[in-house]
């Protein structure tokens, strides 16, 4: 218990969390602090490239094995399964319509790559190793949740006829989403070039990484804070409860999956993080196309304003501590 609290305290006082807190506080205080869209986009491209490349380079050492394939398949199944749990919970806990519940559920089945990056950074700082291919698992978990949510809407009498459906164009947009292409592409480049390739660009992808992550999380804090400020009256207490409970349920699925697969402590922690996190980039865009009648203020505020801060501050150290206790290390 003491080690969990120590880890939580160290995490809360880390530069990345304090940067996020600064962003939220500045937005809530209506400061004019802001990042231009192009700068935010540039930082996200850098982080995706760096994390993808490092993951690929670490896989290059031991190649493709059954555990990697199993982890990818498990990730896809988790992403497709979690929306059903989230949907059922939302229908019981809250007064959301079937349409809004399905849209929110899609976010919780998919993943937040920034939460994954932050968790990887904490694991590195703790000296806990993880499987490099968890980056590929993250990419594989982006889309299945969207398909599951659209299926839920098509089965719901209230939502029948409201879904734009999963047509080929939407599927192509989801699968070729810029974040996924860059993450998987950098992973492949890292895998092909291996340790030699990493040594060539190490100064670029390793040393500035945490600094850029701090600035990006400052920006995320600003966006989350603005969202919270503008969402007054949209998010009920029950929805806040869901936003805090669902990550714990997702993480428990991730824990069970990682343990059954036989992942390392770091790998299990990352599987928990992926299962616990909620998308706020790929899925909201897909929902705006496929389910435009669903209320974006609900799913964006829940994902970015409630679950993201929870995972960043309490979730990550908790998941690492639980993974360490269950798996050892």
């Amino acid at each position: 218990m003491g080690s969990i609290l120590d880890l939580a305290a160290a995490n809360l006082l880390s530069p990345i969390i304090l940067s996020f807190a600064l962003g939220v506080a500045a937005a809530l205080a209506r400061s004019d602090l802001n990042f231009p869209e192009a700068i935010a986009k540039g930082m996200s491209l850098y982080l995706l490239f760096a994390i993808g490349f490092k993951g690929g380079a670490s896989v290059a050492g031991h190649g493709v094995d059954a555990l990697l394939i199993g982890s990818l398949i498990a990730g896809v199944i988790l992403s497709g399964l979690i929306p059903f749990v989230a949907y059922a919970l939302l229908r019981v806990m809250t007064k959301l319509s079937a349409l809004d519940a399905a849209a929110v559920a899609a976010h919780y089945g998919s993943i937040s790559i920034v939460t994954f990056v932050a968790a990887s950074s904490v694991l590195d700082a703790q000296g806990i190793g993880s499987e490099g291919y968890m980056v590929a698992v993250a990419a594989a978990m982006e889309a299945p949740a969207i398909v599951a949510a659209l299926w839920l809407v098509s089965r719901s009498s209230a939502g029948a006829g409201e879904s734009g459906g999963m047509n080929g164009e939407l599927m192509r947009e989801i699968m070729l989403n810029g974040s996924i292409v860059l993450l998987v592409g950098a992973f492949l480049i890292g895998g092909i070039t291996g340790a030699e390739g990493k040594a060539e660009i190490d100064a670029f992808i390793t040393a500035p990484f945490k600094g850029v992550l701090c600035l990006f999380l400052l920006d995320m804090g600003l966006v989350a804070g603005r969202g919270l400020r503008n969402a007054k009256g949209t998010i009920s207490t029950a929805l806040i409860g869901f936003g805090l409970l669902m990550p714990l349920i997702g993480a428990s699925f991730g824990l069970a999956t990682g343990a059954v697969l036989g992942l390392s402590t770091g790998g299990v922690a990352l599987m928990m993080v992926l299962s616990a996190s909620a998308s706020y980039i790929a899925v909201p865009a897909a929902m705006r196309v496929a389910l435009p009648e669903a209320n974006p203020a609900v799913y964006l505020t829940l994902s970015l304003g409630i679950t993201f801060p929870f995972n960043l501050t309490i979730g990550i150290p908790l998941y690492i501590a639980v993974a360490s206790t269950v798996i050892g290390g």
């Binding site: 802001n34 990042f35 231009p36 869209e37 935010a40 986009k41 996200s44 734009g164 164009e169 920006d219 995320m220 600003l222 966006v223 603005r226 503008n230 706020y280 980039i281 790929a282 909201p284 865009a285 929902m287 705006r288 196309v289 435009p292 009648e293 974006p296 203020a297 964006l300």
Partner: protein, 103 residues
């Protein structure tokens, strides 16, 4: 100088629908259009801003085109098909153009 009548159609549409709209404009025979960034705004769905955001879900784009007056109505009906379920604003204004053959 000879000036010719035209209709200027301005469509503010969700960024995620921009490509679908511009594809439709091309299919409807619109010979040219401009896509302009929208930094932020406010409407029935509340306030929004592109500052610091990396996703496209909460952004809007402005698409502007000029068409011959007699083609405007058919074009607007087609545009409505893309817009109906989404956030957006369409406005049409009378305009004058120098080179009518381009529209």
């Amino acid at each position: 100088m000879d000036m010719h009548d035209a209709k200027r159609v301005e469509i503010i549409i969700e960024a995620v629908m921009e490509k679908r709209l511009t594809k439709l404009l091309t299919e409807e025979g619109v010979t040219g259009f401009s896509v302009l960034p929208v930094k932020g705004g406010s409407g029935r769905s509340g306030q929004w801003s592109r500052q610091g955001t990396v996703g496209r879900a909460d952004g809007m784009s402005a698409v502007v085109c000029l068409v011959k007056p007699e083609r405007a109505e058919a074009l607007l009906e087609a545009v409505l098909g893309v817009l109906t379920r989404h956030i957006g604003v369409v406005n049409v204004t009378d305009a004058k153009v120098l080179r009518a053959e381009r529209f």
